[in-house]
Structure formats: structure tokens, C-alpha cells
């Protein structure tokens, strides 16, 4: 009884969609029916009944193939507008039988999983890309399977929404350049302190060109950058807001990179990097209205 109750519950969860092969089955059934009926050919009748019965029996087997699959959207790496990111979905077969011929769809992404043995979690990485900041989601997270006979597409939708946050595109003047400019303006640039790895965010004027001959390109680090005072950023809302958000995002990322704390003032609210965390602050920027 339990089996049937469970089967009916599962059946409700799993959608079934006929494929082109099912059209072929219908045509085959029609042709076989004509041949069998008109000539009373029992061999043809038997093939006809087999085709029908196999197509019929494939349903429960296909449903039970997906019935024990649990999907969870784990989350994504930081996704910046205009840039890509990676999201993770785990699949877990809680049943006792291996699930076969699965395809995980998330938006445009598709990952094929030939078999999913029971009890072993399977992690799938999906690429994501967004144009603008804010909340985004994979349009339709689902597992599909054509198992066993390809005549029906069994679809199991994920309970969770595959949602992730897209941070503003980190764009603008680099923190180093900005602070350098600020320091030059106040004659406070200070002394050249040492070399650090060039990661592309620093101004070209800071590149330590002799390092070109080495394997790693380096840039000069100035004393003012390691000063203990935390940078304080303010969302002024004076210019183009998107541009400003992008600028702030860039500085926040740079601060994280060089390991300095900062504060961000947004609409009178002050957020501290060591308290709210970088992701929290970036989320505030992403969802800023």
C-alpha cells in the first residue's frame, strides 16, 4: 500500500511530456493494428500488444527513476553584472536503485548525468551570467529523463528557486588610483614601501616595469595604502547611481583583495566590512533601489 501511496505522490511531482518517439509509437501501433486486424495475424497482434504494453509499463519505471531524487540549489560564487559566475546544485539519490539518464537543466545550462547511484551526492556546477545587478535566477531548474524508452520526458522540478544575487559590475577608478590622486592632492602619497603582485586593478603608473623580465608582473606598493585608517565610502547619489554602485563595488573588491577594512555609508546607514561582511555589503549594493 505504501508503495502505491508513494508512487501516486511521486507521480504528482513528476510531469510527463510526450516526445517525438511517442508519436512514432502511435504510428507504429496504428500500422500494426491495421495489419493485425485486417488479416487476423496473431504474431502481429502480439507485437502490437507488446509495443502498447512496453510503452505503458515504461511510465511507472520512468517515474520511479526520478522519484527518489532530491535537488538542492547550494548557491553561487560572486556573480557580478556583465561577468559570469558559477552556481552549484547537488543531486542526491535517496532511493535504493540507481537513477539513469538524467539531464539537469537550469536556464540555458544543461548537464548530463548518465547515472546517479544511490546515497552518493552529486554536485553539478552551472555557469551563470547576468547583465544587470539585482536578484536573478535560473529560469527553470529541473531534472529531466528520457529513461527508459525515450517515449516520455519525465520532468522533476526543483522545489527551491535557483536564485542568486548579481552584484554591480566592478567598474571605475581603482582604489589605488583614487587614493593616490587624493594623496597627491594633499602631498601625502608617502614613500614607496615595496612590491606586490600586479593583479590588473592597479594603475599602470604603479607597475614595476623591471619585473617584466620575471615571471610575475609586480606593482609598487606605497606606504599610504597600508595605513591603518579604514577607507570610508559614501553613496552620494549625485551622479548616475549605477555608475556609482559599480565604483563602490570595485573599491570594495579591492579592499578585500588587499585585506583592509572599510565602511560604507548608504542613505545614512553605515556598514562596516568587518561587521556586515563583504558579501552583505555587496548584496546591499546589488539590491539598492
Amino acid at each position: 500500500m505504501n508503495f502505491f501511496r508513494r508512487f501516486i505522490q511521486t507521480r504528482r511531482r513528476i510531469r510527463q511530456k510526450a516526445t517525438a518517439f511517442s508519436a512514432m509509437v502511435v504510428i507504429a501501433l496504428f500500422a500494426l493494428f491495421l495489419e493485425a486486424y485486417m488479416h487476423n495475424f496473431n504474431i502481429v497482434y502480439i507485437v502490437f500488444f507488446f509495443v502498447f504494453a512496453l510503452a505503458f509499463s515504461a511510465g511507472p519505471i520512468g517515474i520511479s527513476n526520478l522519484s527518489d531524487i532530491e535537488m538542492r540549489f547550494v548557491g553561487c560564487t560572486r556573480v557580478f553584472a556583465g561577468e559570469g559566475g558559477e552556481c552549484t546544485v547537488t543531486l542526491h539519490n535517496t532511493g535504493r536503485r540507481t537513477a539513469w539518464a538524467l539531464r539537469l537543466y537550469a536556464g540555458e545550462e544543461m548537464v548530463e548525468i548518465a547515472k546517479l547511484p544511490p546515497g552518493v551526492p552529486y554536485t553539478v556546477t552551472l555557469k551563470c551570467r547576468a547583465v544587470s545587478r539585482g536578484r536573478s535566477a535560473f529560469s527553470d531548474c529541473r531534472v529531466e529523463s528520457l529513461f527508459p524508452l525515450s517515449t516520455v520526458r519525465f520532468i522533476l522540478h526543483m522545489k527551491d528557486r535557483c536564485e542568486y544575487i548579481v552584484y554591480p559590475e566592478p567598474k571605475g577608478i581603482s582604489l589605488e588610483a583614487y587614493r593616490s590622486k587624493m594623496a597627491t592632492g594633499t602631498s601625502e602619497e608617502g614613500d614607496f614601501e615595496g612590491l606586490i603582485r600586479y593583479d590588473g586593478t592597479q594603475s599602470l603608473s604603479r607597475i614595476y616595469w623591471p619585473s617584466m623580465v620575471m615571471e610575475e608582473l609586480q606593482s609598487k606598493r606605497f606606504e599610504y595604502l597600508s595605513k591603518s585608517d579604514k577607507p570610508h565610502f559614501t553613496l552620494s547619489r549625485q551622479e548616475d547611481i549605477e555608475k556609482e554602485l559599480s565604483q563602490l563595488t570595485l573599491w570594495i573588491v579591492e579592499c578585500e583583495k588587499i585585506g583592509i577594512d572599510f565602511t560604507l555609508e548608504m542613505d545614512g546607514r553605515i556598514m562596516k566590512s568587518d561587521k556586515e561582511g563583504i558579501d552583505g555589503i555587496l548584496e546591499s549594493l546589488a539590491l539598492y533601489r
Binding site: 485486417m38 496473431n42 504474431i43 504494453a53 540507481t98 548518465a114 547515472k115 527508459p148
Partner: protein, 659 residues
């Protein structure tokens, strides 16, 4: 739809497709003509030898030309406008074109949609050509193999893994197939008569005439001529005379019928009632007659009603309108007790008295002598019978030395050896000489030894000849072969299977052979020839006979449970880690006690929870210890001790439940 369209297929896909094509092609190899077979062989060789996936246009064109030529030669002479209407030829042409298309596409190396469905097309075409139990069994096997191949492709798995699922799927579908086969509404169209019907070899034993010579009887084959199913019960052996043709005239070594041509003015499938008198013991039976390439249908004496498209002539021969070049199935009615002959025309009686006095003089003289000593025709016949019995005749299949011109004299007075033909011929001549109109009847003589239940099998070697004597206005059957005093050793086997006299034989061997034939016949009746009539009969029986209905439902339930158990057996996950599998049994048992393993919970913790309820269970503590030792100890530990402990624990739990 998934297939490697417009791209070169993978080796795996190609292999699977080749396998599917090979599976469905096997029955076709017995049908297709030699030129096509040669073309296929060349194509296979070509595929084997080709080095690159890309194929030049010249190579493709050459294959196409070769294939087209093979089709042309295969159908040369057969194909004309009249031929177009012949379904078999048309199907054959379609088959050849399909083969050509498949081979060309396969040579190109691209698997497209049409190539994917080609095994199914070939399978459906095969169904046009065969109608036998063997083919039915093969088709079911084919369906299974195709499912297995589809699943192997779909699952991208090894053969063993997909086998399990295939068996499950197949097992689930069997009960539905059975139910549909029985209950799917049929209409009463006739069984198709196209296609190759399997064995088309002509059966011998009866050809409408009879040769009396000294040649060894060559009709020794066990080949089945007909299978008979009686509506009520199988009649006694003495009534199992299947009438073929009636012969009046001995010309040289041959006995010939009344008319050279078997056509008759009578065109009715019913015997003319004016030709027979009292009849009794009417028997209705169904006959499966295998190809004889003649027109006679064999009905028991005395035929009353023949099948459609046949007619019964004044000699009670049953003639089919067409040559029997493929198995025919008919129902017939005969009267086993009968009187007939009063309406026999004087012309016919005159012919039944005709003698060629130039030959068989001694036989004729004996007949005349017997006639002079007797008062009535019955007495004459009895005296002739006694004469035959007293002549110490030997039944022999090798009556060497028979004088062809005087075969009866030679048989009766010189070599005293012969088989049914010699007995019947000599008896007829002697009866005629005694003034009794007589004729030879040829056909088959059944024997209840070849019968089970209501089934009777008649083989070539059951071909027989007997006589009919016109006594007191009636034709009476006399089977003079029964007067044989001895049976030659080499002939015992044949006699055991008919021919009118009895001998000792390998009864059990015959019975087992007949039993297999009976099974085959039953299967053919209920599987190959299941029809609207049988369906109605079955439903009626289910309605009227509660015991039968009970048996029927039990059988269906058994099929269902068998299918489910097979599906479960093959659906069970394979145990790869023995201790884990052993502990699974324990966990399941605990679930019955209401202790469920939580997600992520270790076995140790679960056992701990159980022990908190039953703290004195030392066995369980030991199971916990052994299990973890097997899993984590550096040395190998035999899991059998764990198995024993678990079994003992489970049986202890069961006892506790019962207590």
C-alpha cells in the same frame, strides 16, 4: 529526439544499431533472394575493409548500382503489372528497397532518424512473411533484444546493467500482453493467406492413383500430413479411414479413378443425401492439412460436410477448388456409421467389375472358383477374406520380385509379400472375378496410438489403401492388409504407425513424440489461430463454467505474480558491500519495531538507540562490534560471523513478536 544527426556516429551507437539490424535481419535471410544476399555480403565486406569514415561519392554510387542491380535480378521475371497486385511480391520489393537504403546510409556512417527506426521497419516487414510458432517465439525474443539495445543506448551503461531494467520492463508488460491477447476484440476476418507459410514442402503418400510394383515403399517419412482435432472424442482406430481417392481401373501397374479428371458435376460441399442411406455416429473435427500440392482434402469415411471451397463427389471424394500449396485449416463432418451405395449408377458398378483377363489369371480364376462355391455376395467376400488369411501373406515394405504385369498373382501365389497396395489391388481383382463390384480407396489410415485427448496426428507413413465391395446394394469397406499373417521385421515400425495391421512397437516413444506434437498443436490453435470464434468460445466458457473461470483467474493471477516477482528480482539493487548489505536486513527488521534510521545516522548510533530500549541484547552489541571491525579493522575479517549473528538476532526478534 536524440541521435547523431548530421554527424558521424559514435562507435557505440553504430555497434548497437548494427546489433539491432542483425537481430531483425536473421529471419529475412531465409526469405531474400540470392542476388540480394550477395549484395549484403559485398556491403558487409566493404564496411569491414573501409579505412576512413568519409566515403567517396564513387563508392556510394557503386554500392547503389550494385544494390539496384541485385534488386532487379532478384525480381526479374516475377515483376509485371499483374505482379503488382500480389502482396508478397510488393512486400518483397519494399523490403529490398529498404535494405538498399539501410546499407547505403550505414555505409555513409551517419546515423539519422530513418536509420534509427529501420530495425523496426524491418521487423514489421518480417511479419508479412512468416506465420509459425517458431517465428512467434523469435519475434518475442526480438522485441526483448530491441528493448535491451534501446536501454543500453539510453542508459549509456554496460549490458548487464541494462539487462536488469530490460527484464523488469519486459516482465511488467507480459501480463498486459496476455490480457490484451485474450480480450482484445477480434473480428471474424479470415486468417491471412499471404506470405511464406513456413514449411511448403509437398507431403506425399497420396496422389490420386496407385502404383502396384515391386519397388520398396519409400513413404517412410514422419512428416505430418494432417493434424485432426475432434469435437467430441477420437473415434476408434477402426474408424480412422481418411478417404482420399477412389480407383476403379487398373491400367498396367496403375490403378486410376473413374474419371481421369477429378472435376465433378457436383459442386456442393455437402454429400448428396440421395447417395447415402442411414448414417450415425456423426463426428465433427478440425483438420490442419499441410501442403500436398494436390486438391484432395481428407475426410473420415463417410464425408457428409466438407469445408468451404470444396465439394464432395459421388464417390465421396472431397476435392478442394485450389491446389493445397500451403497449410489449410478446415472443419468437416463425417458419419462413422453409414450405409451407402444404393444410388450408385450402373455405369459406375459396371466399371467396378471390369477385369483385364490378360493379366493376373490365377487371381481371377481363384475369384471365379470362390464365386462358384458361394451363394451370396457376402459369402463370396468372406471366402475371399479367408483365402487371403490362409495364404500366409507377409506384410513387407520390400516385396522384391513382384511381376509387374501380374502383380496380384505374383503377390498372392509366388512371393507372398507386399504392402497395403498389393493387398488392396489383389483383393479387388479377386472380388471382381467373383462378381462383386469392387474398387480401391486410397487415403490415410489414422491410429489412436498417434492420438492424445481429442488430437490425432496423421503422417506420410500412414498413407494407406483399402477396398470397397458392393454387397447387397451397399459399399462395404474391406481392409485386406489386416489379413497379413506375418510382418517383416523391417516393416514393424511402419505398421505400428498405421497401415491397418497391428504390430509391436515402441509405444512410449510414439507417445512422447505425439505429446510434443499435441502441445505444438494446442499452442498453434490458441496462439497462432486464436480468433473471434475462439474468443467468443472462451468468454462463453468463462461465463458458464465457474470452475473454468476459477482456473482461468488463477492462471492470470499466477502470470501477474510471476511477472512482478521477476521484475522485483531484477529490480533489486546489486549488493556490492557485503557487510553493509547484511546490516541492511537488520535495519529493515528494526523498522518493523518502529525504530527508523534517521538521515545521516550511523549504524552504531541506531544500534545504541535500540539498545536503550532493550539493554540486555548482547547479540546486538556483538553485531555492532563485528560490523565495525569488518569495516575498519586493518585485517580481513570473514563476514559470515556477522551474517550468523544477524540471522540469530532476527529469528530472536521474530520469536519475541510471536511470544
Amino acid at each position: 529526439m536524440e541521435y547523431s544527426n548530421h554527424s558521424h556516429s559514435t562507435d557505440r551507437e553504430s555497434r548497437l544499431l548494427d546489433l539491432a539490424l542483425a537481430t531483425v535481419s536473421i529471419p529475412l535471410l531465409f526469405i531474400i533472394k540470392l542476388p540480394m544476399l550477395i549484395y549484403i555480403a559485398i556491403w558487409a565486406l566493404f564496411l569491414f575493409l573501409k579505412k576512413s569514415d568519409e566515403l567517396s561519392a564513387i563508392a556510394i554510387f557503386s554500392l547503389f548500382t550494385l544494390g539496384s542491380l541485385a534488386i532487379f535480378i532478384s525480381l526479374f521475371g516475377e515483376f509485371n503489372f499483374a505482379g503488382l497486385s500480389r502482396l508478397r511480391l510488393y512486400t518483397e520489393l519494399v523490403l529490398y528497397i529498404l535494405i538498399l537504403a539501410i546499407t547505403l546510409q550505414r555505409a555513409v556512417g551517419k546515423i539519422n532518424f530513418y536509420l534509427v527506426i529501420s530495425p523496426f521497419l524491418l521487423l514489421s516487414l518480417t511479419l508479412f512473411f512468416y506465420d509459425s510458432l517458431t517465428m512467434m517465439a523469435y519475434v518475442v525474443t526480438e522485441v526483448f533484444i530491441l528493448i535491451w539495445i534501446i536501454l543500453t543506448h539510453r542508459m549509456k551503461s554496460d549490458w548487464y546493467e541494462s539487462l536488469g531494467i530490460s527484464v523488469r520492463l519486459f516482465a511488467f508488460s507480459i501480463p498486459w500482453v496476455v490480457l490484451l491477447f485474450i480480450f482484445f476484440p477480434r473480428i471474424s476476418f479470415e486468417h491471412a493467406s499471404y506470405g511464406f507459410r513456413g514449411d511448403g514442402t509437398a507431403r506425399v503418400g497420396h496422389d490420386g492413383s496407385m502404383s502396384v510394383d515391386d519397388r520398396t515403399l519409400t513413404i517412410l517419412s514422419d512428416k505430418i500430413v494432417m493434424e485432426v482435432w475432434f469435437e467430441k472424442s477420437t473415434p476408434p482406430s477402426s474408424s480412422l479411414y481418411f478417404r482420399g481417392s477412389v480407383l476403379y481401373e487398373k491400367r498396367g501397374r496403375k490403378w486410376l479413378p473413374y474419371n481421369r479428371y477429378i472435376y465433378s458435376s457436383s459442386r456442393s460441399r455437402f454429400a448428396n443425401p440421395s447417395l447415402y442411406g442411414k448414417i450415425g455416429s456423426v463426428s465433427v473435427y478440425r483438420v490442419s492439412l499441410y501442403p500436398t500440392h494436390k486438391r484432395w482434402l481428407y475426410l473420415l469415411d463417410l464425408p457428409i460436410e466438407g469445408p468451404r471451397d470444396s465439394y464432395i463427389n459421388p464417390d465421396f471424394e472431397t476435392i478442394n477448388r485450389n491446389l493445397i500449396s500451403e497449410p489449410v485449416f478446415y472443419e468437416a463432418t463425417s458419419a462413422l456409421k453409414y450405409e451407402y451405395g444404393e444410388a450408385t449408377s450402373p455405369k459406375r458398378l459396371q466399371k467396378a467389375l471390369r477385369l483385364d483377363r490378360r493379366f493376373d489369371r490365377r487371381t481371377i480364376q481363384t475369384g471365379e472358383k470362390i464365386a462358384s462355391q458361394s451363394h451370396s455376395a457376402k459369402e463370396k467376400a468372406d471366402r475371399i477374406w479367408r483365402f487371403f488369411s490362409d495364404m500366409n501373406l507377409t506384410y513387407s515394405l520390400k516385396p522384391e520380385g513382384v511381376d509387374i504385369d501380374n502383380s496380384s498373382d505374383s503377390f498372392l501365389f509366388d512371393i507372398k509379400k507386399g504392402y497395403c497396395v498389393h493387398f488392396a489391388s489383389a483383393f479387388t481383382i479377386m472380388a471382381r472375378a467373383a462378381g462383386i463390384p469392387a474398387r480401391v480407396v486410397t487415403g490415410y489410415k489414422g491410429d489412436r496410438k498417434n492420438s492424445i485427448d481429442r488430437y490425432l496426428v496423421v503422417r506420410e507413413r500412414d498413407a494407406h489403401a483399402w477396398c470397397e465391395l458392393y454387397i447387397d446394394g451397399k459399399w462395404l469397406r474391406y481392409d485386406p492388409t489386416a489379413t497379413a499373417s506375418h510382418i517383416e521385421s523391417g516393416s514393424v515400425e511402419v505398421i505400428d504407425r498405421g497401415d491397418g495391421v497391428s504390430g509391436d512397437g515402441a509405444g512410449e516413444e510414439i507417445f512422447s513424440g505425439v505429446y510434443l506434437l499435441y502441445l505444438k498443436y494446442k499452442l498453434e490453435r490458441w496462439l497462432l489461430h486464436y480468433s473471434h470464434v475462439r474468443q467468443v468460445y472462451l468468454l462463453e466458457k468463462l461465463r458458464k463454467d465457474p470452475l473454468f473461470a476459477l482456473y482461468f483467474l488463477t492462471a492470470i493471477a499466477l502470470i501477474f505474480s510471476l511477472s512482478v516477482s521477476i521484475a522485483m528480482r531484477f529490480g533489486r539493487p546489486r549488493c556490492k558491500n557485503r557487510p553493509v548489505c547484511l546490516i541492511e536486513r537488520l535495519i529493515k527488521r528494526m523498522e518493523r519495531e518502529g525504530i527508523y534510521r534517521e538521515r545521516g545516522e550511523s549504524v552504531h548510533s541506531l544500534i545504541g538507540r535500540y539498545l536503550s530500549r532493550y539493554p540486555d541484547d548482547e547479540n546486538l552489541k556483538e553485531i555492532d562490534r563485528i560490523y565495525h571491525e569488518i569495516l575498519y579493522a586493518d585485517r580481513d575479517i570473514d563476514p559470515s560471523s556477522l551474517k550468523r549473528r544477524i540471522e540469530s538476532f532476527i529469528s530472536h526478534m521474530k520469536k519475541r513478536d510471536r511470544g
